[in-house]
Subunit: 83 residues, 2 copies
Amino acid sequence: AGDAEAGADKIGTCVACHGTDGKGLAPIYPNLNGQSATYLESSLKAYRDSQRQGGNAMLMTPMAQGLSDEDIADIAAYYSSQE
Amino acid sequence: AGDAEAGADKIGTCVACHGTDGKGLAPIYPNLNGQSATYLESSLKAYRDSQRQGGNAMLMTPMAQGLSDEDIADIAAYYSSQE
């Protein structure tokens, strides 16, 4: 499982749309706070690996492509732990 | 904008995975409660129109294909209004 504390240092590119608290900064961006880490991890990997297409994939795929499996687990743990 | 009260009568196929309160019943299913109606509407239309692929699209596309624009707006309003 990911390390939420480590994740807090890895959300530099996430916060522009999802904030530090996981609340989408515009109505088109989903809230991430309180989602299960399993879901967030699965989504980020699907974006990174270009498996998830359409929707916001054009935005998310480039964001995710620099992330290792560990980065993704940490970021997922971080946002999942936000209320 | 959608009608949350009308939406409550249209979530028959949603509740198996997302519950009546929008909380995913398994870790792989996202929570919908409190997401913006704009995001939920956009996502459902992208699934319905086979624009959104990968991720959970294999599950979601058939669910969404029976829905009109009005149904989608109502369902989005309903889940957005859940806490």
